[in-house]
């Protein structure tokens, strides 16, 4: 019985055969069609289920659940929380994205140590990530809703501008900034289409598809991980998990994506 790998190989072979015959190499429509077909069986559902269980489980030294965790819409309100993040929180006095907020809740409500919570944030075959499961569950509860990040407070306005600064910051041995790959339309790196993140259309298509199950990794990845991995490929140093830099950049992208309909968790190659 063919599994996902077999299906992927078959789909890829068909795509290559099709492109060899008629279309230009790396034809974007073919690639998009393959990706659409993969959407129908998304292992991310398993992460959603695990995340939901983790949200209500009594954990940590305080043996408390996350039911009182405020993601911006009031304690315990998960539905619709993702589309209004990142945002300012008065209890911490700072702008926070989803993972940053989860860290706050795990530390204050459940009594966990911050170092422990951020130690292994990205899942691997050897280690499951609780953060990725929770993020998948929470983002999934905004499915079908439109991105609606509001820059109401000066802290949020400043964080957006900081995120913009980071987006355009060229540095490192490659002289790369985010803008180098994501500042124009209709470009691709190898065969991967590159959304223009400075414009609504590109930002929407990019932002609303994360978190996503990445077939090659066999893991669900979040925007947090995607940004950290971008920095790695830009030849930047390793960025701290749930840091202000990631939050500012996420806010920049999320606000640019306003109006886009959340469709997470998605599935990607």
């Amino acid at each position: 019985m063919p599994g996902k790998l077999m299906r992927l190989v078959l789909l890829a072979a068909c795509a290559l055969a099709a492109t060899a015959v008629a279309q230009a190499p790396g034809n974007d429509d073919e690639i998009a069609r393959n990706r659409q077909a993969l959407q129908e069986d998304n292992p991310a559902e398993l992460w959603e289920a695990r995340g939901e269980a983790l949200w209500s489980a009594k954990r940590g030294p305080k043996q408390a659940s996350l039911a009182q965790c405020d993601l911006g819409l009031g304690p315990g309100v998960v539905k619709g929380a993702y589309v209004q993040l990142p945002r300012y929180f008065s209890d911490t006095g700072k702008v926070q994205d989803l993972e940053s907020r989860l860290v706050t809740c795990m530390v204050t409500l459940q009594g966990m140590a911050r170092e422990e919570v951020v130690k292994n944030p990205f899942g691997s075959p050897e280690h499951q990530s609780d953060m990725e499961a929770l993020a998948t569950y929470i983002a999934g509860r905004s499915r079908g809703m439109r991105m609606n990040v509001v820059l109401a407070r000066p802290e949020e306005q400043e964080a957006y501008r900081l995120g913009e600064k980071i987006f355009y910051y060229r540095a490192g041995p490659y002289d790369f900034g985010c803008v180098t790959c994501h500042g124009a339309d209709n470009k691709r790196i190898r065969l991967q289409a590159l959304p223009d993140l400075t414009q609504a259309k590109g930002a929407q298509s990019a932002y609303t598809g994360w978190p996503a199950y990445r077939i090659g990794a066999g893991e669900v990845r979040t925007m947090q991980q995607r940004l950290a991995d971008c920095f790695r490929q830009q030849r930047f140093p390793d960025v701290a998990y749930a840091s202000d830099t990631v939050t500012a950049l996420t806010l920049f992208l999320a606000k640019n994506a306003n109006g886009g309909t959340m469709n997470a968790p998605g599935v990607k190659l």
């Binding site: 019985m1 063919p2 599994g3 996902k4 790998l5 077999m6 992927l8 069986d41 998304n42 292992p43 559902e45 398993l46 289920a49 695990r50 075959p125 050897e126 077939i215 066999g218």
Partner: protein, 107 residues
């Protein structure tokens, strides 16, 4: 302890369409971990689906099937309200059984 499967069973015409998402590492036995040690093979070897005490699908899998396998199949002879029971067994002898009730077609 094996993690639960997600099973959906719906009527498609006179056939039952079953979609199963299984939670399994599906290690081929060829991968090396971060330290360079070979990760031992750990994969689902057999899958059996029954409905009304009849076997409707029996499969033997190998290492070509990738992590968190998705299985989709159709069979005749089931109706809304019947249970579809799926069991997988892996090469270490771990087993997992889950069931789902066949849903009526959408109105």
């Amino acid at each position: 302890m094996a993690e639960p499967m997600k099973i959906r069973a719906t009527m498609q015409g006179d056939k039952v369409e079953v979609k199963v998402l299984m939670n399994h590492e599906m290690e081929t036995g060829q991968r090396k971990d971060a330290k360079g040690a070979t990760v031992p093979a750990h994969f689902i070897q057999s899958v059996v689906a029954t409905c009304n005490d009849k076997t409707v699908l029996s499969a033997q899998w190998g290492t070509a099937v990738s992590k968190n396998p998705f299985l989709s199949f159709r069979f005749k002879g089931g109706k809304p309200g019947d249970k579809v029971i799926i069991t997988w067994t892996d090469n270490k002898g771990d087993k997992r059984t889950d069931e789902a009730v066949i849903a009526a077609p959408a109105a």
